[in-house]
């Protein structure tokens, strides 16, 4: 059975969470934390950047949260969570050594394994950088042997500088060879970077848009305008991968809560190709 746990002989029901212990907790912004997690009993199956897990705050509820590191690496599983509701707030408040539930991994991934021979432009808005962090790390890791290779450009937008995630790490990506552009909507004097919308930064990316691939994640309206801007700059639609969020309940294609047009986001997404159908669905007010 495909959904059974790979570790051990015991068959795990896909709706049963496994216990994970919080072994690290880092505050990213005022309302966002990253939890580092290790299994209490046994781990979930191997994950790929772009996929998500269902996280349980015991006694509170369960929500879908993207995996925010490169789970192929030998390190704890990481989830970056913004406190916006009861469950996410409870998860953010879990103390070090506390235990939460994890089931997954679910959904499609960014497909970074295919991107080592191509220029890649990563565009993130707000908390949308979290699901892309693992992909960025994996892409930088692939560049490492020669220190050169194809361009990795990271374009990040946020409301203001205090809302930027992974600031230190972004600088490390830059040192590792990524081309980094960070823009905010508004700032106080002293901010030396650009102020403006993320789409305005795209024309400055030193890539051949007709051959590059883009990975885009953020609020849906930001994805829509970013994808359009990339097409206007000459990128073929099928080179654009977007990650969409819906209200997930089961995570395994059973309940229908995550329906988006003809798709179940938990099963057919969250990463989709921005083809004409995706463009139409994103632009439609009725979905």
């Amino acid at each position: 059975m495909a959904l059974a746990a790979e570790a051990g002989s015991e068959v795990r029901h896909p709706l049963t969470p496994l216990r994970y212990r919080v072994v690290g907790k880092r505050r990213e912004t005022e309302d966002t934390v990253t939890l580092s997690l290790l299994p209490v009993d046994r781990p979930i199956a191997l994950t790929r950047p772009g996929q998500f897990n269902m996280l349980t705050g015991f006694g509170v509820g369960e929500i879908a949260i993207s995996i925010s590191n490169d789970p192929a690496a030998e390190e704890p599983l990481e989830h970056t969570i913004r406190a916006v509701g009861a469950v996410s707030s409870a998860l953010c408040q879990t103390p070090p050594e506390g235990v939460i539930g994890v089931r997954g991994p679910f959904g499609t991934d960014w497909g970074v394994a295919e991107l080592s021979q191509t220029d890649t432009i990563v565009v993130a808005g707000g908390i949308g950088l979290a699901p892309l962090r693992g992909a960025i790390r994996a892409l930088l890791e692939r560049r490492r042997p020669s220190g050169k290779g194809h361009l990795l450009s990271v374009v990040v937008g946020a409301r203001n500088p205090s809302q930027l995630l992974f600031e230190e790490e972004m600088l490390a990506w830059q040192r590792a060879g990524a081309h980094l552009q960070v823009t905010v909507d508004t700032a106080r004097p002293g901010w030396s970077g650009p102020v403006g919308v993320v789409t305005d930064q795209l024309a400055r990316v030193p890539a051949d848009f007709s051959n590059a691939v883009a990975l885009v994640c953020g609020p849906e309206v930001m994805i829509r305008y970013t994808a359009r801007a990339l097409v206007d700059l000459g990128m073929p639609r099928d080179h654009i991968r977007i990650s969409l969020e819906r209200n997930m309940q089961c995570g395994v294609g059973l309940c229908g809560h995550c329906q988006l047009g003809p798709w179940l986001t938990c099963r057919d997404g969250p990463v989709f190709t921005y083809d004409l159908r995706a463009e139409g669905i994103l632009a439609s007010p009725h979905r």
């Binding site: 993130a124 808005g125 908390i127 946020a158 919308v197 930001m222 305008y225």
Partner: protein, 156 residues
Amino acid sequence: MAESIAELIGRHPVLEGLSPEDVEQVAGCSHNIVAEMGEILFREGDPATTLYLIRRGQVSLEIHAPGREPLVIETVGDGSVVGWSWLFPPYRWTLTGRVTATLGAVAIDGSCLRGKADADRALGYVLMRRFAAIMLQRLLATRLRLLDLYGDGAGS
């Protein structure tokens, strides 16, 4: 050899492709400037006399309100242009422009350019088309920001 003002203008993305005659007309109103980081290029409320074609560097556009810290609402960088207030009465800056990365720019005298555009309507039309395209782009960017692009919880 240093490039002439006309060469700098003719190669700037905003005025690229103008006829040599039109470039010469604009060059007649222009001079080259360099400004260091932190310098105030123009101040809200002051007479607006200049259009800046930015060759390199960055200018922050700030709004000041009494009792509050100034807010940077936009930055303008390489290959773009800053300053429209010279175009329309009362010819006063509506924002403060502060240099946030060493600036190399062509400064064009607004009243000189208005005079030439009035005298040569074909030149005026060409310039207005170029400027209107940038203004439209900025208007679209402002509308996008009204949508609060990063405002919901998507992506978590």
